[in-house]
Amino acid sequence: MKPIAVLIIAMALLAGIVPHFTDCQSQGKAIELPNGKTLPMKCHWTTQAELTLAVPLALCGVFLGFRPANERRSELAMLTIVLGSFIALVPTVLIGVCAKSDMLCSAVMRPTLLVSGILAAGAGLFYLILDFRQGGSKP
């Protein structure tokens, strides 16, 4: 099942890297306050949050690729589902991105994170179903 582990790692890389090039900060945009200071837009905080989710997700993918024992695999699969779900929820519900659909963070970052989160969670679910069907026997 190495291709599925590779898919999880690829999704983690997407979630960790793409936001850094598609948030408003990377395009030189920020909220300017009356006192002249600038404040990052919320897509920037989404980018930071995604990085903290992408690193453990990538590790889950790496460990799952090493064919762990079934018990460990189930735990990793559940963690993958949770991380994948949060990767999809951060840009849509928990933090969000800029509202204007013609901004790069809204046009590219949000759908990319949504798709990568859903695919990662789906891959975790696949491992979980696989374990369930194998009935907890050692590989």
Partner: protein, 397 residues
């Protein structure tokens, strides 16, 4: 074991071979479907832009016509100014029934005094407007009051009371227009009075003052008398006034359409090449598979299976893989279009709308048919040759 079960088991048994055919079929369906879907979506968006404007002619400064077109299609604001006296000049042209001025403004970029960055603002004159007033009469029952605004489908209020902050002034969002797939979805509509009030207050409330030049407007919307020829009227306007351009509604998006067509030609060329390559790979894989399975097919023949049975078996495998591949390819295209339609608009700089259901259904059916027929064409000759092989010869080789 009946034929259908044998087909399914044969397909599942050799995952690698089936996977390659599946991928070829996926490409064969996704490529033509994707390109046609994109073209139809772009066309629907361009038509929508023309319909939403609701004017027969749009009069703009001569050298800024393309910029205005881009602003209307993509919602990227651009300052356009011309003398207000052009309004009266256009109104006097024979064939013109109604004229209405517009101001094109924009919110500041990333400023805390504006709740949306670089938002396109279109100010209209309620006394002469004929594009928004029908909508307002139907949905609001009255005109917009001062500090009330109307938004495109993608304009959202910044607080729970439905307010928007524009140049430090709270404006109340009274409603949203239907989705058009164009820049008008990201446009804020307000009356001249509201625009001037915002400009006046911006001096003290905004980070940068909004300036509306006195006696200047951005564009003139023109409604023609019934039976008037748009081309003749547009020519007359341009002939009488050298510094303005009258764009006819069907030509409103001409330059975008040209760019879009040019881009599509390149994409179509790439798609055709990939398509031909996919057919060649599918044919090659079927040819290799038929050669690899000659003993198996020889045994089947020796056990009493007819040539027709072997032919149906191999064609059945090809059909299953072609259909599943095509369905997956089309589903993938639709998923990409659904999730990434804003990215398509962002990168291709065109408006995009999902084609109407009837067109979409025809495209899906066409995509599945093209992929299935292409795989069958590629597979038929190797399959036919394998089915014609004598059992003894097949098992001996």
């Amino acid at each position: 074991m009946n034929l259908a079960r044998l087909i399914v088991r044969n397909t599942a048994r050799n995952g690698y071979r089936s996977g390659i055919i599946f991928c070829c079929s996926l490409l064969l369906a996704a490529m033509p479907f994707g390109i046609t879907f994109l073209t139809e979506g772009g066309r629907a968006g361009l038509h929508s832009a023309m319909d939403r404007l609701g004017a027969d002619l749009l009069v703009v400064p001569e050298n800024l016509a393309v910029k205005v077109e881009t602003a209307l299609l993509t919602g990227k604001p651009f300052p356009v100014w011309m003398a207000r006296e052009n309004l009266n000049k256009v109104a006097r042209v024979p064939g013109v029934a109604q004229v209405s001025p517009q101001l094109y403004l924009a919110t500041l970029s990333g400023a805390s005094c504006c709740s949306a960055s670089e938002m396109f603002i279109m100010a209209y004159d309620p006394a002469t407007d004929f594009t928004l007033r029908p909508w307002l009469a139907q949905n609001l029952g009255r005109d917009l009051a001062t500090n009330e605004v109307l938004g495109g489908s993608q304009i959202y209020p910044s607080d729970l009371q439905g307010n928007l902050l524009v140049y430090g002034t709270q404006l109340h969002l009274k409603g949203n227009l239907a989705h058009s797939g164009t820049g008008l979805d990201r446009t804020l509509f307000m009356t001249f009075e509201t625009a001037r009030e915002v400009a006046r207050m911006s001096a003290t409330r905004a980070m940068q003052k909004l300036t509306i030049p006195a006696n200047e407007i951005s564009a003139v919307l023109v409604k023609l008398e019934p039976g008037a020829d748009p081309w003749s009227v547009a020519n007359y306007i341009e002939h009488e006034n050298s510094d303005i351009l009258a764009i006819q509604s069907p030509q409103m998006v001409q330059s975008t359409r040209k760019e879009f067509t040019g881009l599509m030609r390149i994409i179509v060329l790439v798609v055709v090449l990939v398509w031909l390559l996919s057919i060649a790979v599918a044919g090659l894989v079927f040819s290799l598979a038929a050669h690899e399975r000659r003993r198996e097919l020889g045994v089947l023949r020796a056990l009493g299976s007819s040539r027709g049975f072997v032919l149906r078996l191999l064609l059945g495998e090809a059909v299953i893989l072609a259909l599943t591949g095509a369905a997956s390819g089309i589903a993938l295209c639709l998923a990409i279009a659904y999730w990434f339609h804003d990215a398509i608009v962002y990168f291709l700089n065109i408006p995009f709308l999902f084609p109407p259901p009837a067109v979409l259904f025809t495209l899906i059916l066409g995509g599945v048919l093209i992929a299935t027929l292409s795989v069958m064409t590629a597979a038929f000759f190797p399959i036919w040759r394998a089915s014609r092989m004598e059992p003894a010869q097949a098992m001996r080789e």
